[in-house]
């Protein structure tokens, strides 16, 4: 196993992802395309290789996902607007310093229109609610400078209802804690400056217990490790609660070599 991150290989891989138009699998994931672009771009940024994908092409692609009828972004050209790709679009434009391409008022109106009387957010006009969408809304509004238009109390009240006995958060009131939902709820609360809603000790304990003997992280008790686990677990621990020391990072990166 290598001791360093093989940056060039990762960059080539990311660059190659848009070159599989001959594969059915590529097309079967069109509903995730814009989100995929965001993850690819972010990975490049982390590796300091943002220029590896052409900026103008990317911005053009993002704008081609704009659903003018709804006032939001779809996951792919001609796909319906949904809050998930809307956040991805805004994130990409922000990273690429191209927020001026956005009709901020319209997209703000779209996002705010997705909030329900209960304080939850729907993903689109068909109404599915999930705390993931709350995070998308809060993050997107914050990125375009319109967080002030959000009813913070109402939004926080809903997240509070999604908090569980183990300190974690679920997708909706009553739903089981899951690291992915913990991330979105903590992130949303953090953006709204309401981390006081989190039971830090309890949640940090629950998150610390996501690490498995092999070093990987799971998303829920007694589940196998996966790649969402680390993101959902470590982000709240470190960025938000400053308890990253509760995880054995060495073991996560190099399975088999635990913290000494």
């Amino acid at each position: 196993m290598s001791n360093e991150l093989l940056t060039d290989l990762h960059v080539s891989y990311i660059q190659s992802l848009d070159k599989h138009q001959d594969d059915l699998a590529y097309h079967l994931t069109s509903h995730l395309r814009l989100n995929g672009v965001y993850w690819g771009l972010t990975a490049l940024c982390v590796m300091n290789r943002q220029d590896a994908l052409p900026r103008d092409d990317m911005i053009q692609f993002v704008m081609s996902c704009w659903d003018d009828e709804a006032g939001g972004f779809g996951a792919h050209p001609e796909h319906d607007a949904h809050i998930l790709p809307t956040l991805s679009a805004i994130q990409i434009l922000a990273i690429q310093n191209a927020l001026d391409r956005l009709d901020v008022d319209r997209v703000t109106k779209y996002i705010l229109s997705l909030q329900n009387p209960s304080g939850s957010f729907s993903g689109d006009f068909f109404g599915e609610t999930d705390t993931r969408f709350t995070y998308c809304a809060v993050s997107a509004l914050s990125l375009v400078g319109k967080l002030g238009l959000l009813d913070i109390e109402k939004t926080v009240a809903h997240i509070r209802k999604c908090r569980n006995f183990d300190g974690g958060f679920g997708s909706s009131p009553g739903a089981e804690s899951h690291a992915g939902q913990v991330f979105v709820c903590c992130a949303a609360l953090s953006i709204m400056d309401r981390l006081n809603e989190v039971d830090h000790d309890m949640l940090a304990w629950w998150l610390a217990e996501r690490q498995l003997p092999n070093g990987g992280l799971n998303g829920r008790p007694e589940k196998l490790e996966d790649l969402l686990g680390p993101f959902g677990t470590l982000d709240p621990q470190q960025v938000i609660m400053d308890r990253l020391r509760y995880a054995d990072i060495v073991h996560l990166i190099r399975p088999g070599k635990a913290l000494s």
Partner: protein
């Protein structure tokens, strides 16, 4: 790449060049079919085609890719804008019934796709009044069936949280829901068949939170819960589900009698399982609660308790090194608490 996905985990037998070419041609043909169909549907969608042929095309495409949320949207719009307005309530009910059947077929293959669950909810929410002599008749029948459907999904995968979420949705939406006691019994059944079912323990915590908010005296049922969770701890001390639930039952530790009792229960388990991380971790937490909440009433020496905790934390660092730094932090609190 598509063929590699289709054969994930299966060793690919050596194929002749002719066989490989035939496979590649087949994949190319499938891709072509997919692209032509997608193009056709999106063109119709743009022109607001709400016809039956368009509807049937969405069926074909969703069978190839049930994650195309835009096509699910279009399908629903065809129903509400085109087909339903021209149909009788019986016909609408029939179509919804067929769509519910379709989602079941999809869910058996892809039980964790949100879009499929969403369509199922939409169908249930659009059942028309009927039959003629019983306005809620069709609806009632569907809701009753849903609980049994979701029971089967949870039998197949008792940790599928989309299924649990859907179960909670059904219970909340039914016009005449069964009493909470029924759901409690369901979680008992799930837990007794597998103590490691954290999803079931979680559901239980929600039911009891509601029940205990209404009952002034819930000591008996709470004690029964402690008994149940004790069984789980003894059967598999390594499974965290029971320990997390136990911590919730203890809560802030206001009741000294309960704390003392549970500490000795766990202490007893520790004698049989001296290296049990969860016994040690829980004892540390509960003994610290004892010190912090009931300092003035302590029969054991306060210092003794803190020494116990420090000793256990040192042991924990050895048997659970990944969380060593958390145990360090707790150890420093043992000295500071005075």
């Amino acid at each position: 790449m598509a063929s590699m996905l289709a054969q994930h985990g299966v060793k690919r037998a050596r194929q002749s060049p002719e066989a490989l070419k035939a496979q590649k041609d087949k994949e190319t043909a499938k891709l072509q079919e997919y692209l032509v169909l997608t193009d056709d549907i999106f063109t119709k969608k743009k022109s607001s085609d709400w016809s039956r042929p368009a509807f049937d095309l969405t069926t074909r495409l969703l069978n190839m890719n049930a994650e195309l949320y835009t096509v699910w949207n279009y399908r629903r719009n065809i129903l509400t804008n085109g087909i339903f307005p021209a149909s009788t309530p019986e016909e609408i009910n029939g179509m919804l019934s067929e769509d519910l059947d379709m989602t079941m077929v999809f869910l058996r293959k892809r039980p964790k796709v949100y879009w499929i669950w969403n369509h199922r909810r939409w169908c249930l929410e659009h059942v028309p009044d009927g039959p003629v002599d019983d306005t809620n008749g069709w609806r009632q029948a569907y809701w009753l069936k849903e609980l049994s459907v979701i029971g089967k999904m949870l039998d197949a995968d008792s940790r599928n949280f989309l299924a649990w979420d859907y179960r909670r949705y059904v219970l909340a939406s039914m016009p005449n829901p069964p009493p909470e006691a029924n759901e409690l019994a369901y979680t008992t059944q799930k837990i007794e068949s597998n103590f490691s079912n954290f999803s079931a323990w979680h559901q239980r915590s929600k039911i009891y939170t509601r029940l205990w908010a209404d009952q002034l005296d819930h000591q008996t049922t709470k004690d029964e819960e402690f008994e149940l969770v004790k069984q789980a701890m003894y059967v598999d001390p390594n499974d965290q589900s029971a320990w997390i639930y136990h911590r919730w039952l203890i809560g802030p530790g206001d009741e000294k009698v309960v704390l003392d009792r549970e500490i000795s229960v766990i202490q007893e388990l520790l004698t049989v399982e001296p290296d049990s991380k969860w016994c040690l971790e829980s004892l540390v937490h509960y003994k610290l609660l004892l010190v912090n909440k009931h300092g003035e009433k302590l029969t054991s020496d306060r210092q003794q308790l803190l020494d116990d905790c420090r000793r256990m934390l040192r042991k924990l660092k050895g048997i659970d090194p990944q969380r060593a730094r958390r145990y360090d932090e707790l150890e420093s609190k043992c000295t500071a608490s005075s």
